[in-house]
């Protein structure tokens, strides 16, 4: 079973969506345990910044509201505090499900300009290129991905922070800290991505 890309999805309700989530989303196999108690939404520190709380999002998955789920701000404003996960009376790994829905939304082409997706891109670039997070370059790349105006505005806005970081030796000046075997790391990551594609093709029929 594969999901149609958004532009081809004619139906508002994808009745296979809940099953797709069960089979393809990390932690999705536990989704059917949800009894809509609302412990997750009540525990969420950032629910005010989400258009739907986790409880409602889960109901939307069951209803087959694929587009609304993947376009919701819920999946992008999760702070990974794990309150919902440890409190869920049915043992559903809510945080993991929401995190993976975010990844799937990028994979399926729902979002390109969302801040988090740009941030994740900059983050992965640093991890892949240097083997480590270079907080300076990652942030610069992230700001840059928002366009020149955004870059200048945000860089200037955070100049004081950056300078105090340099002053307290929490931001270094010079070449990025790189691992020794970047080549090996990249080979591992490339292989993993290859396996991911192979497995998802085999596993989602």
């Amino acid at each position: 079973m594969t999901l149609a890309p958004p532009e081809q999805a004619a139906r508002k309700y994808d009745l296979n969506f809940a099953r797709w989530v069960r089979d393809n989303v990390n932690g999705g196999e536990k989704m059917s345990m949800c009894m809509q108690c609302g412990m997750c939404s009540g525990s969420c520190p950032i629910g005010t910044e989400m258009d739907h709380g986790p409880r409602k999002l889960f109901m939307m998955i069951r209803a087959g509201m694929k587009d609304e789920v993947f376009n919701s701000s819920t999946i992008w404003n999760c702070t990974s505090c794990y309150n919902c996960t440890v409190r869920c009376p049915r043992g559903i790994p809510v945080t993991y499900i929401i995190q993976d829905l975010a990844a799937k939304s990028v994979e399926l082409g729902y979002v390109k300009k969302v801040q988090n997706a740009r941030f994740a891109k900059a983050f992965w670039w640093s991890a892949r290129t240097f083997g480590r997070t270079d907080e300076r370059l990652m942030t610069a790349k992230y700001y840059w991905s928002g366009g020149l105006v955004d870059f200048v505005k945000r860089s200037l806005g955070n100049l004081t922070i950056a300078l105090s970081m340099v002053r307290t030796k929490r931001m270094h000046i010079g070449a990025p800290h790189k691992i020794k075997d970047v080549k090996g790391l990249r080979a591992i990551l490339a292989k993993a991505a290859e396996i991911d594609v192979r497995e998802s093709k085999g596993g989602a029929s």
Binding site: P93, A103, N116, F123, A127, R136, S164, L189, A192
Partner: protein, 301 residues
């Protein structure tokens, strides 16, 4: 614990940047607590809370797989990290690989691309859990030679240091998810006063605070407000991202909400270094706090 116990130490990326003072103070206090830290060979990024979005789940787990493979080569000892995100990812990956044969197979296929393997199991532990379960509070108290008498500290635990593993068997069952006591215990063991602080496991916004603080400043404001209300001189935390977020956004919060916060945020390990009579700069790294912890600096040798 009479002899020292060896651990493979995973410092994490923040140790080379915003969380350098956690790394410095942890390395300083470890020998005092009978812990030997041997740095993990050629360690890489853990993927934090966004790696899976661009890299995919398996590649993200493979980041931890590579670290675990290096740890396996290094010896049978447990891995320890002071960073909440590194702990979350590496511990999570190790537990998952342990119980999921297919995942281990896939990870090893990926590791094979660099002639590496992870076919044993290593335990990944948080430094705080090691201090609670391995070192013990008595040892911390015994080591204090310069008690932090008269200093009021708000113990801010944050999220990922305790969630989702603190109450699990693999996580060492060292405290609770909602009302952990270890940090207050550390503070009191150092001779300081742990103030009543009911937002100790509130969220600072994590990486969302880094990418879009406009969504999360109100969360940090609450963390600061409650500490000031409780009369704290300083906030102490175990998490590098919490420390940076709660410290660096104070001017932005003051600007947006018309407040006047200027409260230092330090690591528990910095408190310990001072309380153990160690050097305020070289060991406690107090010079690396943007908002200076003056009362601690005065106490420091």
């Amino acid at each position: 614990m009479s002899e020292s116990k060896k651990f493979t130490y995973y410092p994490g990326c923040s140790s080379l940047g915003s969380g350098a003072h956690l790394d410095r103070s942890l390395r300083a206090i470890a020998p005092k607590l009978g812990i030997e830290l041997e740095e993990l060979e050629d360690w890489n990024c853990c993927g934090a809370s966004v790696g899976h979005i661009e890299g995919g789940q398996l590649a993200n787990t493979a980041l931890s797989g590579r670290n675990l493979a290096h740890a396996q080569e290094q010896g049978p000892q447990d891995i320890v990290t002071g960073c909440a995100a590194c702990y979350l990812n590496t511990h999570g990956a190790a537990e998952k690989i342990k119980s999921d044969v297919k995942l281990r197979e896939n990870i090893n296929e990926a590791l094979g691309a660099a002639d590496m393997k992870y076919d044993e199991d290593r335990r990944v532990r948080h430094a705080c859990e090691v201090i609670v379960n391995e070192v013990g509070l008595d040892k911390v108290r015994e080591t204090v030679s310069n008690p932090l008498t008269g200093i009021k500290v708000a113990g801010y635990v944050g999220c990922q240091t305790v969630r989702p593993f603190a109450e699990t068997e693999g996580g060492g069952e060292y405290d609770t998810f909602d009302d952990p006591e270890f940090l207050d215990d550390f503070i009191e063991a150092c001779g300081a006063e742990a103030v009543e602080y009911d937002v100790k496991t509130a969220c600072c916004g994590g990486s969302v605070s880094v990418m879009k603080p406009e969504k999360t400043l109100h969360l940090i404001k609450k963390i600061l407000e409650k500490a000031v209300e409780a009369g704290a001189d300083v906030i102490a935390t175990p998490c590098p991202l919490c420390q940076t977020n709660v410290e660096m956004y104070q001017p932005a919060i003051n600007k947006q909400f018309g407040t006047d916060f200027n409260i230092p945020v330090v690591f528990y390990s910095q408190l310990m270094a001072v309380a153990f009579g160690m050097d305020g700069k070289k060991d406690a790294a107090l010079d690396q706090n943007i908002i200076k912890a003056k009362k601690l600096e005065e106490k420091a040798k």
